[in-house]
């Protein structure tokens, strides 16, 4: 029988190409997803943890206390070659050609070369005071001179001219776009008021084991409040904090992996089933000439294993190649999704091979069993007209319900809790249930849809509707493959839209004002607001007065006065920043704790002009806020301390320009004001989501393409089976056009039904998924992008139409006489 297996693979090479293609694409899909995941992870790790990966050990404190005293101790530890304390401060810098100052976070350029982690895009790191290197977000070039306002430890401000020596590439660091960064020598950082270091980075002597070094450092230091990690560990900790919490990251990876495997398995199963069905007669002939049922089964499975292995190998290669192309492209366009280089984890390769071979084998099992049941006589009959009725198994129904009902319940629970690790298995189980039940659900829907198109498409449509439900099992399998791809694509599209909406709402809640202008000295000229409102692109603004008030703890705090009437139109959200009513004070959570007050308590605040009892409203994060009138009662002379601006809705790039214009206007009017805008953050988030959506839908698009190959395959099979029938129709007067139409209708019916069902399911899964993932972090806003969803239906249906072109071509080429001859 081995010779039969090999001969069979050879003889059907052409036909196997279709199924190989499906396996190659599916395996490539799995591998590319896994490789891209790993690449993203390692990119974030090296970017977000860049300052740590180069270090052998990192010492940190839990409470922010100084580590300066530990430096000599650590330096004395055996194997320690260099120690770099991290001095951090912030300055205001005026860039060349600009008038407004910009906030820069200043870090340390280590003295020791081994601990200089900054990746330079241009120039070099500073070697002396009066020099800085800046991040590429700061629009300065090597040689530029910045006016830097720093505040020395003793509180005296100073303005100095410093020269830019280098530009640092922070590519991939999720926080790179938040604010400008600069690096100076330890001395310069201290001159600008850097607090004592709370972090030491350590380089070991060449050949030192980081684990041992970290342990040695650990032993040399007091236990209390000090953490020692290896550089890699510390990088992972920071990357995890960057990427939200670590479980959420793991969950997301899990979702992608599962999705990839499920799609791959089902698509391969379907293609293989169709291919074996095409060969029923041939297998029966083998039985006729004396092959036992077992031999036939072994031959079929052997063929499957061979096909699966060859295609999987190709798939692994294609997957790595695809990931490399995607990552190269992403690097080229400076993608906000952190991707650089290529990390190929061996489990991805193993998973790809295993998925390919195992699913092909599993997929071949059922048809192989069917093949062994073929009566030898089947070979002698003329091509069987396709059976009009085949009964889907009861087992399938029961199993489908057993998966669907508990799965759906878990999914609902996962949404309600909300917890993604509950929703995820629920989603997978219920979807598997749906896939099994589709066998029963799809044919009636196709029949109903057939009733609809019959009215529109005349006789060919009516025949197509009949044909489409002739072999319900096959129609259901074909439709299911497409349904899976469409469901997942829709789920991604809806999920991304909902994530975007939720994140926008979250961003608006965290940063309710588009732009905040703050006077560093505590006051701004009263004329600044009207001036800024005059800037093109500024929609409106409100001024907050600020005054020193004494709290119940007897200490002085800065309170701001805001008028709801002018503030509400400016703010994008008041969820996290509630505005006070008259007689109320909004107190941030940490301060409420310090004052030991809760919602509804009354506190008395004292100002220069008197005191007022105020009802407390606790907010998660907020300045100390009173109404303007209440603040005036405490201090009638309170100056304007802060301006909140809202920008006209526009494209993010245009809004960036408005922020620059505001910064310059402020800089001209006031020397020491700080302008912060959330616009670039919002743009960055949108870019990340756009690219993520593009990559994922691109990958899922592959699944849809595989499914459409399946549609074409099934149709081709039908054309073969219905050769006589089509001949008869042609004899009866069906024109070639009408025959093409018949097949097109059949294909459109199946594809259209799959697309519509898939979109409905995908919408549900997308929303449930978003609700369970994001619900863990906060408020969820669900959004359905109707236009994109409609586009999915149209594309899938039209693609179904295209899938009928080749089989139809073959069908119309057969002259009616040849077809009638059987």
């Amino acid at each position: 029988m081995r010779s039969v297996t090999l001969a069979s693979v050879r003889a059907h090479a052409g036909r196997l190409v279709a199924s190989c293609l499906a396996i190659v694409l599916a395996v490539a899909f799995v591998v590319a997803t896994l490789v891209l995941n790993e690449t993203t992870r390692s990119t974030v790790l090296t970017a977000a943890g860049a300052q740590y990966v180069g270090a052998d050990a990192v010492v940190g404190t839990d409470d922010g206390s100084s580590l300066l005293d530990a430096v000599p101790t650590v330096s004395a530890v055996d194997g320690v070659a260099a120690v770099a304390p991290e001095w951090q401060t912030s300055v205001q810098a005026v860039l060349p050609g600009r008038t407004g100052a910009e906030f820069l976070l200043v870090g340390t350029a280590a003295d020791d070369a081994a601990l200089r982690w900054q990746r330079l895009a241009d120039g070099a790191l500073p070697d002396r005071a009066g020099e800085v290197a800046v991040s590429d977000r700061v629009t300065a070039e090597v040689g530029d001179v910045l006016q830097v306002v720093g505040v020395a430890p003793d509180g005296t401000g100073s303005t100095a001219e410093v020269t830019v020596t280098g530009v640092v590439d922070l590519g991939g660091d999720p926080e790179a776009g938040l604010y400008g960064r600069a690096w100076a020598t330890p001395e310069q950082a201290q001159a600008w008021g850097a607090a004592d270091p709370t972090e030491l980075r350590i380089a070991g002597a060449p050949g030192t084991d980081p684990e041992l070094l970290a342990a040695a450092v650990r032993d040399a230091l007091p236990d209390e409040g000090i953490t020692v990690r290896t550089g890699t560990e510390q990088a992972e900790v920071r990357a995890a904090s960057m990427l939200g919490n670590a479980t959420a990251l793991a969950a997301v990876l899990l979702v992608f992996g599962t999705v990839a495997v499920v799609v791959a398995g089902l698509v391969i199963a379907n293609t293989f089933a169709v291919l074996l069905a095409q060969r029923t007669r041939e297998l029966a002939l083998l039985r006729c000439v004396g092959a036992t049922a077992r031999q036939v089964r072994r031959s079929v499975l052997g063929e499957a294993a061979l096909t699966g292995l060859a295609a999987s190998l190709l798939g692994v290669g294609a997957g790595i190649g695809l990931a490399a192309v995607v990552s190269r492209l992403a690097e080229g366009v400076d993608s906000p999704v952190p991707l650089s280089g290529l990390s190929v984890p061996w489990p991805a390769v193993a998973a790809g091979l295993a998925v390919g071979v195992l699913t092909t084998l599993l997929a071949a099992l059922a048809p192989a069993r069917g093949a062994t049941r073929v009566a030898p006589l089947a070979a002698l009959r003329p091509t069987d007209p396709a059976p009009l009725h085949s009964r889907p198994g009861v087992l399938r129904l029961v199993l489908g319900l057993l998966l669907l009902l508990p799965g759906a319940a878990l999914l609902v629970l996962g949404v309600l809790l909300p917890h993604v690790l509950v929703a995820l298995p629920g989603g997978v189980l219920s979807f598997l249930g749906v896939v099994l039940l589709a066998q029963r659900a799809v044919p009636p829907v196709v029949r109903a849809a057939g009733g609809l198109v019959t009215r529109a498409g005349g006789v060919p449509a009516r025949l197509a509707a009949g044909n489409a439900t002739r072999n319900p099992g096959r129609t259901a399998a074909t439709a299911t493959a497409l349904l899976i791809g469409v469901t997942l694509t829709t789920a991604m599209v809806v999920g991304t839209a909902s994530t975007r909406a939720s994140a926008s709402a979250g961003l608006a809640a965290a940063y309710p004002a588009d732009v905040v202008v703050e006077g560093l000295s505590g006051q701004l000229p009263g004329t600044l607001l009207p001036q800024l409102e005059g800037v093109d692109g500024v929609a409106g603004g409100t001024a907050l007065r600020s005054a020193e008030v004494t709290g119940p703890d007897g200490q002085a705090w800065t309170a701001s006065g805001v008028d709801a009437a002018t503030a509400v139109p400016v703010l994008r959200s008041t969820v996290d920043t509630p505005l006070p009513d008259s007689g109320e004070v909004v107190v941030p959570e940490w301060q409420a704790e310090a004052w030991a007050v809760t919602d509804g308590d009354v506190v008395s605040l004292d100002g220069p002009a008197g005191s007022a009892p105020l009802r407390v409203q606790v907010a998660e994060e907020s300045p100390l806020l009173l109404t303007g009138a209440d603040l005036a009662r405490l201090d009638p002379a309170a100056p304007v301390g802060q301006l909140w601006l809202r920008l006209a809705d526009a494209e993010a790039g245009a809004q960036d320009a408005v922020v620059d214009a505001v910064t310059d206007t402020v800089g001209t009017a006031v020397g020491d004001a700080q302008v912060t805008g959330v616009v670039s953050l919002r743009r960055q988030m949108n870019e990340v989501l756009d690219v993520l959506l593009l990559v994922v839908t691109g990958l899922l698009g592959v699944a849809v393409v595989i499914a459409l190959i399946g549609v074409g395959n099934t149709l081709a099979l039908s054309v073969v089976e219905r050769r006589q029938e089509n001949g008869l129709l042609r004899a009866m007067g069906l024109t070639r056009r009408q025959l093409r139409g018949l097949l097109a209708w059949e294909s459109v019916l199946v594809a259209g039904v799959a697309a519509v069902l898939g979109v409905v399911l995908g919408g549900v899964y997308g929303m449930a998924g978003t609700a369970s993932v994001l619900g863990m972090a906060g408020e969820v806003v669900l959004a359905v992008p109707w236009l994109q969803v409609a586009a999915i239906v149209v594309v899938a249906t039209v693609a179904g139409l295209l899938a009928s072109v080749l089989p139809a071509r073959c069908a119309v080429r057969t002259p009616p006489v040849a077809a009638l001859a059987g």
Binding site: G733, L734, P815
Partner: protein, 257 residues
């Protein structure tokens, strides 16, 4: 047949002596060179309007090929075919297809009906493909004549072989085509149901002036026809007017069948 037999008449169609379908120098060659098979080697034949003609001959003599060429199902290698005044050999596929559904009826030996359609739908299929509606009175008359009234909602799989052939005959007669071609219409039936079908074909000729051309290798079936055309090795090999089973058998024997 105990049901009352309605009398079928076609109004306004005077009997004509002109041929309903005829062929001149019809040649059909399969393959080329050494392996060429001459299925038809120059056939000149005409079939009278309103007559029932049988084409007979040994197996492989070209009967089916002749019928396919006459019916516009197959293209001739040389020669020409006229359906009334229309030259078929010059028509393109679309025109030929339209001509088939409007002016020609078919009854095949087997696999006559579409399994997804019920009997009624199968009967009206050619008319529907042409975008026409059946004349209800004529439809009722045909269905009653063929005894199919109770079976109209049945799918082919639920019909006996004889019933299936009757549905096929009804389908062929409904559009009132210029010619009905039947290729071994009784080949798969037992002799009693076969006789029924032949009776129906003959009565459609007698009562409504339908032209019928039937291919058969069965002398008893041929005896139902008004005339028998004999074929051997792709050539005309004689004809018999008012045939009987005996005269057909002896003619065939003369051909060495």
């Amino acid at each position: 047949m105990s049901a009352p037999v309605p009398v079928l008449t076609v109004p306004g169609e005077p009997p004509s002596s002109a041929a309903a379908v005829r062929a001149a120098g019809l040649t059909k060659t399969h393959g080329s060179g050494e392996t060429a098979v001459h299925a038809l080697a120059g056939v000149d034949v005409a079939f009278a309007r309103g007559a029932f003609t049988a084409i007979m001959g040994p197996s492989g003599s070209g009967k089916s090929t002749l019928m396919h060429c006459l019916a516009g199902l197959d293209s001739a290698t040389a020669g020409s075919v006229w359906l009334g005044d229309t030259e078929l050999t010059s028509l393109r596929d679309d025109a030929l297809t339209r001509l088939r559904r409007e002016r020609i009826g078919f009854v095949f030996q087997s696999f006559n009906l579409l399994p997804v359609l019920d009997a009624r739908e199968n009967i009206v299929l050619p008319l529907q493909l042409a975008g026409r509606r059946p004349d209800p009175a004529w439809f009722d008359a045909v269905v009653a004549r063929l005894g199919l009234r109770e079976r109209l909602r049945h799918r082919p799989a639920e019909l006996s072989g004889g019933q299936q052939q009757r549905v096929a005959v009804a389908r062929a007669l409904l559009p009132r085509p210029d010619v009905v071609f039947a290729d071994e219409p009784t080949g798969n039936l037992d002799s009693r149901t076969g006789a029924e079908v032949l009776d129906l074909l003959r009565s459609s000729v007698r009562e409504t002036g339908q032209t019928v051309v039937m291919v058969t290798h069965d002398p008893i079936a041929a005896a139902y026809a008004d005339r028998v055309v004999l074929l051997a090795d792709g050539r005309l090999a004689g004809e018999i007017d008012a045939p009987t089973a005996d005269s057909v058998v002896s003619a065939l024997r003369g051909l060495g069948a």
